[in-house]
Symmetry: C2
């Protein structure tokens, strides 16, 4: 083997290695929840519907929606929400801003949770598929599929709003 | 004129009227700020960078970024932020959630404000163009162009972070 073909071979192997690394990283497996829900694709790019701060568990939240949910929220078409609407709630521990004492800002990610409206698929939980992935490792929440009743139970106070606490934040 | 052409004419006039209404509404004029900044297009669809809650003025905030700002934030390329990056901060009065006492949620919109990085265009304010539009009527803030020094003055504590208080919220 000539020197140049050796260099070429080494470069090829390195390139393949890098490509494999990229593919593995892009395809990082996130396990589905015990009720068989896969994490919605691209949710981090969804549009914001509202924000909130819970002082009972010291968390800040961003509520995002898939395009169908954002449209429904804008049109006030939320009693009930249409099939296909997905709401994402991203939750962080709160913390004081080091440079502005009276500002509370996100600290570590707690979890990302979802409500997926599909009245045919999730009749037992009022038409909503509940799902949550905890922490940066995105570990699916729940020992078995019954965890969804725990979710629904907490959402009972919002029954009149199709079990959704979030109200769209006012925007021009 | 026959009955059917009369009906057609009336329908045409009604259709044109509706179309004109739509165009006027879509082209609703929003005045530029006294320092000559036009409100960034499409900012309500931008991706979220962080959220915050200020207890000194009882406001909840969503911080969004244009695609260049989101990319810079993800890469930690923010000291300084690159020219072309735009940060939007949407600010609402806070209020208690009627169905969950310990949750603070957005009430009325206070304003949408922006930091536009352009080191050539805004050398007097550390490379940032400051802009704010108040309320649902989106009234430009500031009596004259000097209002931007008021903005910069409040941002001095964040000088080491290129005058930006916002740190990206952790996401998987």
């Amino acid at each position: 083997m000539s020197k140049s073909s050796l260099v070429k071979s080494i470069l090829s192997v390195l390139t393949l290695g890098l490509m494999a690394g990229t593919v593995l990283s892009a395809e990082k497996m996130i396990a589905p929840t015990p009720n068989g829900i896969e994490i919605p694709k691209n949710y981090k790019n969804w549009q914001m519907i509202a924000v909130s701060h819970r002082t009972d568990n010291q968390t800040l939240r961003a509520i995002l929606g898939n395009p169908l949910a954002v449209k429904a929220a804008k049109q006030g078409n939320t009693k009930p929400w249409p099939d296909g609407a997905i709401l994402a709630k991203i939750v962080w521990k709160d913390s004081d801003h080091p440079l502005w004492q009276a500002a509370t800002v996100p600290d570590a990610l707690v979890h990302a949770e979802f409500m997926i409206k599909d009245s045919k698929k999730f009749p037992a939980t009022e038409g909503w598929g509940f799902a949550r992935w905890s922490g940066m490792e995105q570990k699916p929440y729940g020992k078995d599929a019954s965890f969804a009743y725990e979710c629904l139970s907490c959402h009972q106070p919002a029954k009149a709003n199709d079990y959704v606490f979030t109200k769209s934040a006012q925007l021009p």
